[in-house]
Structures are given as structure tokens and as C-alpha cells.
């Protein structure tokens, strides 16, 4: 350890990792073994995890209370293969006596886990899904891991980490009407490129960060992995504390950065200058303002996923679709990210607005986002989507194309049959 790092303060990521490591003062680049507070698993449990874990020959897991298990990718099962995978998952959860088996009716892992208060400030959480970074909105250090890493946590409760360097993002100003935090994070990914945050922690500070709702923050933290980041953590504030109080969530440790923390890079964003953007296929960093696009006709619009299937997203989209019909050549698929959101959307009349606009409303699942089911794209089809990845063939045929966008841009485009700026609808 050099003198510089000894004297500097710590970022949020460094503090949380220090709290969970035997070395109580970790520095970037250092390899540590950290104690895991919670591990989230979904269908991967029946994929590679159960096979890898069985190789260890253990008859138990380290802590049956610290595993959150939910089925969300292929629910309800669209194929015999998926059904078999679900059977393997359930059998494993029973055999090892998981205390938190959420079944398949609750919704998408990241949404349900946070709604139920499993992600609390200061926690170190890992999950078998790259978008586990979402819990950074709740001041957690959380990140995605593979099946073997999950097996290691199941066996020992610990995991190795290389302590990341931290990039500081200072936000000022507020997002303008119909501009959403999706536009902000897409703009950041476009500016940094897909490898711009490789092996780094992104941290979000400033009055602009505090102006974002918890739903909006989740979208930002969710997509940091698209810039290669290990985590994307928001500074805690009153809005977060109120949110936690509203759900009777207690016993947490708000983690602030030190004033003299060391950042590898610093970026400033004025949120009032962010405009509606899309990420063109086939990369999330291929970002341009909607206003600069040529005419792009769409076949499908998808509103949902762990990135943008929350109540705020549905409300904003419904506001655009109210008393209107979508374009006759477009199919709009709406999937609330959880049952709780679905129920609230029913109560608020949002589902009625979607159905009356001729949208198809599906049950909470990851489904279309990864080409699994409920809206797979055919050859040469074009989809505007509120999801997180527009890789080749991600949502269906290899010749289909995905434009990533905010819920407002997606809803406005569904009305017009082509990609349009939501401020013009």
C-alpha cells in the first residue's frame, strides 16, 4: 500500500468492501475475500449452479437465510426445457432448505428483491445476473457473478474481489418533462463507451442525483454494467430513508464517501441538458439523440424489464397513450416488472389505458428482453425497447434490430409507428 492511498479517504465502494473484509481498509487493485450479506439466484440455479455445487459434495449451504431465490426469466415455462430447469431449481431449493423461495408469481428478481427490503444500505450483495448492480440505488455494493462464484458463496459465504477504482459522477439540475433517467444513463454509456467503466465502481452524487426518484435511480444503477462497471452506487439521502421507512425497513448502515476520497475519474452532468436518446443496434453505447435519427419504422415496442418496468415508467408511458391507439403496424408489449407494480397499475387505471391503446399486457417476467418468450422478434423486424441490451439477435432472429430507449420514447414511437421524440407527441 502506498502513502497516497493510506492518507486518502474512501469511496462508498471502498467503505462497503472494507466493512466486509478482514482487511478493514482496502485499496483499489487489492485482492480481498469478502463476507457476502445476500446472494440472489434465478433460473441459473437449475442451469450451471446446481451442477457445479453438487461437485463439492456438501449436504448443506453456508446460510439458508442469506439466499434469495426466484424464478423470473422463463415464467410461466414456455417450453419443456424451461419447465425441467424450473424443476431442478425447486428441487435444489428444497434439498438445501432455502428460507426465501419466492416462486414464480412475484416478478423480476431485482424488482422483487428490493420491494421486499432485501437490499439495504451498506450491504454487499451478489447475484447470478449481471443487472444485480441495480441495488446500488439503495446504497448497496452489488454486482453480478457467474454460477461457479455462486457455488463458492453457497459453500463458504465468502467471495474474492479485486477492489475497484471509483469514477465520480456529479449530477446537477433536473430532468425535463418526458426526459427520463434512461436517457441519462444511455447518454453516460454513450460518452464512456461499453468498456469505459471496466472493472470500476460508478458513484452518483450531487443535487441532480438527489432529484431522481428511487425508481429512476434503479434504472441508472441497473445499466452501469453496460459500461462495464462493477457497481453503480448512489449517495444515500432523505428520499432513500423515507422510501425505506415507507416499507418498514430498518437496521441498515447509510454509507457516505469521505470528503478526501480518491477517484480515478470525475464527470459532471447537467440533467436539464439531457435529451431523449436511443442506443442504436448492436451496442448500448451507440447513442444518438432521437431528433437526429432518420425515419425508422418499428414493428414492435416493448415496455418492461428490470431496467424500465416500474410504476413510474408505466405512469409516464400511460400518460402518452391515454385515449389514443397505437399505430396499426405496431405491436406494443407491456410487462410490469413485478406483481406489486402490476396491482398498483391496475388500481391507477394504467393497465386499462394500455389495453385500450391496443397494447398486449403480459405477466411479470424477463421474457422478451433476452429473446426468451412473450414477444420474440422475427427476421428483419425492428423493435424499440426499454430494456438494456441491443446485441445482435438478443430479442430474437439475428437479423432483427433493437433500439434501446426510455418508456416515454417507446410509448410515443408505438403511437406513431416510427421512432419519435416523446416531447413532440
Amino acid at each position: 500500500m502506498n502513502l497516497l492511498t493510506e492518507n486518502s479517504g474512501k469511496t462508498i465502494a471502498e467503505k462497503i468492501l472494507s466493512d466486509h473484509s478482514s482487511n478493514k481498509s482496502v485499496s483499489p487493485g487489492e485482492f480481498i475475500e469478502a463476507d457476502i450479506d445476500l446472494v440472489m439466484v434465478h433460473e441459473q440455479l437449475g442451469g450451471r449452479i446446481h451442477k457445479e455445487y453438487e461437485k463439492l459434495g456438501l449436504d448443506r449451504v453456508w446460510d439458508t437465510e442469506k439466499i434469495f431465490f426466484i424464478l423470473d426469466h422463463w415464467v410461466p415455462a414456455p417450453s419443456i426445457e424451461a419447465a425441467k430447469m424450473h424443476q431442478d431449481c425447486r428441487n435444489f431449493a428444497k434439498k438445501y432448505k432455502f428460507k426465501h423461495d419466492l416462486g414464480m408469481d412475484k416478478g423480476i428478481c431485482h424488482q422483487v428483491l428490493t420491494e421486499l427490503g432485501f437490499a439495504k444500505p451498506g450491504m454487499l450483495i451478489v447475484g447470478s445476473d449481471s443487472h444485480t448492480t441495480t441495488y446500488g440505488a439503495f446504497n448497496c455494493f452489488s454486482t453480478g457473478i457467474g454460477a461457479t462464484d455462486v457455488s463458492v458463496v453457497f459453500a463458504t459465504g465468502k467471495l474474492w474481489f479485486m477492489v475497484p477504482e471509483t469514477q465520480k459522477f456529479s449530477f446537477e439540475g433536473q430532468l425535463r418533462d418526458k426526459v427520463m433517467s434512461k436517457d441519462l444513463i444511455l447518454q453516460i454509456i454513450g460518452d464512456l463507451s461499453t468498456g469505459g467503466s471496466e472493472y470500476k465502481s460508478m458513484e452518483f452524487y450531487g443535487d441532480g442525483a438527489k432529484s431522481l426518484s428511487i425508481d429512476s435511480r434503479m434504472t441508472v444503477s441497473n445499466m452501469v454494467v453496460e459500461a462495464g462497471a462493477k457497481s453503480g452506487i448512489f449517495i444515500p439521502d432523505n428520499k432513500l430513508v423515507e422510501w425505506l421507512k415507507g416499507r418498514s425497513i430498518s437496521n441498515y448502515k447509510l454509507t457516505m464517501p469521505d470528503d478526501n476520497a480518491d477517484y480515478v475519474e470525475e464527470f459532471n452532468y447537467d440533467l436539464s441538458k439531457i435529451v431523449p436518446v436511443v442506443a442504436k443496434p448492436p451496442s448500448p453505447d451507440n447513442v444518438v439523440p432521437v431528433s437526429e435519427l432518420p425515419e425508422i419504422k418499428i414493428d414492435q415496442a416493448f415496455l418492461g424489464s428490470c431496467t424500465n418496468g416500474r410504476l413510474e415508467d408505466l405512469r409516464q408511458a400511460a400518460q402518452i397513450l391515454k385515449n389514443k391507439k397505437i399505430h396499426q403496424d405496431v405491436r406494443l408489449i407491456v410487462i410490469p416488472a413485478s406483481k406489486e407494480i402490476y396491482l398498483n397499475a391496475i388500481k391507477e387505471g394504467l393497465i386499462e389505458i394500455f389495453l385500450n391503446s391496443n397494447a398486449i399486457v403480459g405477466n411479470p417476467t424477463c421474457g422478451p428482453c433476452f429473446g426468451g418468450h412473450l414477444g420474440v422478434l422475427g427476421p428483419d423486424e425492428v423493435c424499440i425497447s426499454t430494456t438494456n441490451r441491443n446485441f445482435i439477435g438478443r430479442m430474437g432472429d439475428v437479423s432483427s434490430k433493437i433500439y434501446l430507449a426510455s418508456p416515454t420514447t417507446t410509448a410515443a414511437s408505438a403511437l406513431k409507428g416510427k421512432i419519435v421524440d416523446p416531447r413532440e407527441v
Partner: protein
């Protein structure tokens, strides 16, 4: 680690895990069946051409995208012993190390190899010998922490040994 000797398969930047294992094969659950489809959308003959000991060389951000470990396991099943890239996506990097596949970060990697080059990687000497091009390329030392996992043949073997 013993020396690694094989042929190079060359790829570009931003090869993602959807490229390596397309989604429609994710729930097959049979390693050999999934492996048949490795990289099929961008290199249709890859799976049948690879031989034990071969090496992938790629550009920046190799393995970006999902945490699906199938995308590393298919390479292991095919006998790939090392991936040399200008940079790696972090989950993919972890998954390679955890499954015992050497991950080497190398600047301008794509420019120093051609498809089919015969190479030898020797960690002891800290170099890659490109026999076809007759050049020696120095590589950064692999941190001891990671080397121990690799030398155990993957992290689960390391845990088994310590129990």
C-alpha cells in the same frame, strides 16, 4: 501452470455473451449440446474447428453482457486453454479464472496475431511465442492470487482441497 500450445482463433472488439452462447440454447442444460452452438452467429465453424489447447485472441471488452457462465464453460468444454484480449468484461474475466482458463490482458492483441498462428504461452518466462510470426511477446505477471486459482484447475478445486 504448464505451457499452453495451440492455434489462434481471432475475434474483434465487444464480443458479448449473447454472441458466445445465443439465448435459445441457454436452457438446454447439456454441456455438449450447448457447446455445439458456440459463437455460431459470428463464426459458424468455430466449434468444430477448435482443438484442445487452442487460444482465443480478441479486442477490447471481451465477454460483455450477461453473467451466463455457459459462455465460458463452452470454451472449456472445447479445450480452449487461454483467452488473450485487449480487455475483458469483469464478470467474464472472473468466470474464466474461476473455471481455470488463463485470461491474459494484452495491449494491441489483435495486431500481434493472425487467425491460425501457432503460439506457445509460458507463464514462467512471462511471454507468448508466436511461432508463425517468429516473435516473442512479453506479458504482465498474473497476480499470485489469481495464479493460485488457475493452478488448482479452477476455484471449486481450490475449495475442495482446502476442506
Amino acid at each position: 501452470m504448464k505451457e499452453i500450445k495451440g492455434k489462434v482463433f481471432l475475434f474483434g472488439d465487444d464480443i458479448n455473451t449473447d454472441d458466445i452462447v445465443p439465448h435459445q440454447y441457454l436452457n438446454l442444460r447439456d454441456d455438449n449440446e450447448i457447446t455445439k452452438h458456440t459463437l455460431e452467429n459470428i463464426s459458424p465453424n468455430f466449434a468444430e474447428s477448435v482443438r484442445e489447447g487452442d487460444v482465443i485472441v480478441a479486442g477490447k471488452n471481451f465477454g460483455s453482457g450477461s453473467s451466463r457462465e455457459e459462455a465460458v464453460n463452452v470454451l472449456k468444454t472445447l479445450g480452449i486453454k487461454a483467452v488473450i484480449a485487449e480487455s475483458f468484461a469483469r464478470i467474464y474475466f472472473r468466470n474464466l479464472i474461476n473455471l481455470g482458463i488463463l485470461a491474459i490482458k494484452l495491449k494491441k492483441a489483435k495486431e500481434q496475431f493472425s487467425e491460425g498462428d501457432n503460439i506457445i504461452i509460458t507463464l514462467d518466462k512471462g511471454e507468448i511465442i508466436n511461432q508463425t510470426k517468429d516473435i516473442r511477446i512479453p506479458i504482465e505477471k498474473i497476480p499470485d492470487f489469481l495464479l493460485k486459482i488457475l493452478e488448482s484447475g479452477g476455484i471449486l478445486n481450490k475449495i475442495k482441497k482446502s476442506k
